[in-house]
């Protein structure tokens, strides 16, 4: 049976911002779209405040101010560079991979001869985090759809049960 893995960077844009400013680690962080219109990335702390993916910023400005949320304009040069780093680590470890978006990649794990796939995935997570500073989650399944679903189920529960960058 085919085996796919889906690697998804956790809160990717917010994680990129945090890497270079460790002071943001414990604080809620959101990243806004071009011209600072909408929320396009949220740290887990920002998700816990109920700030929704895609929310127009003016609608959440009040709650962001009340809770000391760090608000960032998007920096696509940075996210593009960090994405390339993550993808190159994945490419070096998996037999084949297919970049699915700036922060997701499908791995073809069919031809991977390892005794324990879970241990292999845990090592890959650790390596990606150490090399690039970006935390990732990995889901594995017999189809890409199920790998994606497994990825979502492997994450900590959040209000509204949503994910995204």
């Amino acid at each position: 049976m085919a085996t796919f893995g889906l690697v998804d960077c956790n809160n990717f844009y917010a994680s990129c911002e945090r890497l270079f400013q460790p002071g943001l680690r414990e604080r809620p962080v959101v990243v806004l779209s071009n011209n600072d219109g909408c929320v396009i990335a949220r740290s887990n702390e920002a998700k816990a405040l109920g700030i929704a993916m895609g929310a127009p910023f003016f609608k959440v400005r009040q709650i962001a101010m009340e809770h000391g949320v760090v608000v960032r304009s998007s920096n696509y040069a940075l996210y593009g560079d960090m994405s390339e780093r993550v993808m190159s680590v994945l490419a070096s470890q998996a037999p084949a991979h297919e970049v699915y978006s700036i922060d997701e990649s499908f791995l073809d794990l069919d031809r991977l001869a390892v005794p324990d796939l879970t241990v292999w995935c845990q090592d890959l997570r650790r390596r990606t985090q150490q090399w690039t500073g970006i935390p990732v989650s990995i889901g594995v399944g017999p189809t890409k759809t199920l790998a994606k679903l497994a990825n979502r189920l492997g994450r900590p529960a959040l209000p509204q049960g949503e994910g995204g960058r």
Partner: protein, 144 residues
């Protein structure tokens, strides 16, 4: 505390091989017989072993002078290397990045400056975290 800023390598680093002279350069009179070319050197290749894990940091302050790292020096960081006792590291301390030497003294980890004016920082709980290991430092010796 003095802190550092992280820079990323250029998006499209070009390979530039320049001649590498074989003689060890001594601070004295060179032998005329030594001036043969040994090969080509590409600085990117020399300084960057694993591009996906390499970052540059501009050092700031005087705390690492004893290790030969001065204000404004450019540091090459390889995050793929796991830090060991004695390594010079970039560490996140109270939310700021700083360059220090990682040492184990009497069983306890600490970050030490290489300047008697700066006391060592004990690593307690999660107030400190190693961000990456410094592999090279680059200093400009001529301002023009």
């Amino acid at each position: 505390m003095e802190h550092c800023t992280v820079l990323r390598p250029a998006d499209d680093p070009i390979e530039l091989d320049l001649p590498l002279y074989g003689a060890q350069v001594q601070a004295g009179f060179p032998s005329p017989a030594d001036d043969h070319i040994e090969g080509k050197l590409d600085l990117n290749e020399h300084l960057i072993r694993r591009p996906a894990a390499t970052f540059f940091v501009r050092a700031s302050g005087a705390s690492m002078q004893g290790a030969g790292i001065f204000d404004e020096d450019l540091l090459v960081i390889d995050r793929s290397i796991s830090a060991k006792d004695g390594d010079i590291v970039i560490a996140a301390v109270h939310g700021e990045l700083t360059v220090k030497r990682l040492l184990k003294a009497a069983g306890a980890w600490q970050l030490t400056a290489e300047n008697p004016d700066f006391p060592p920082l004990p690593i307690i709980g999660d107030t400190c975290e190693v961000w990456g290991v410094v592999t090279h430092s680059i200093r400009r010796h001529c301002g023009r």
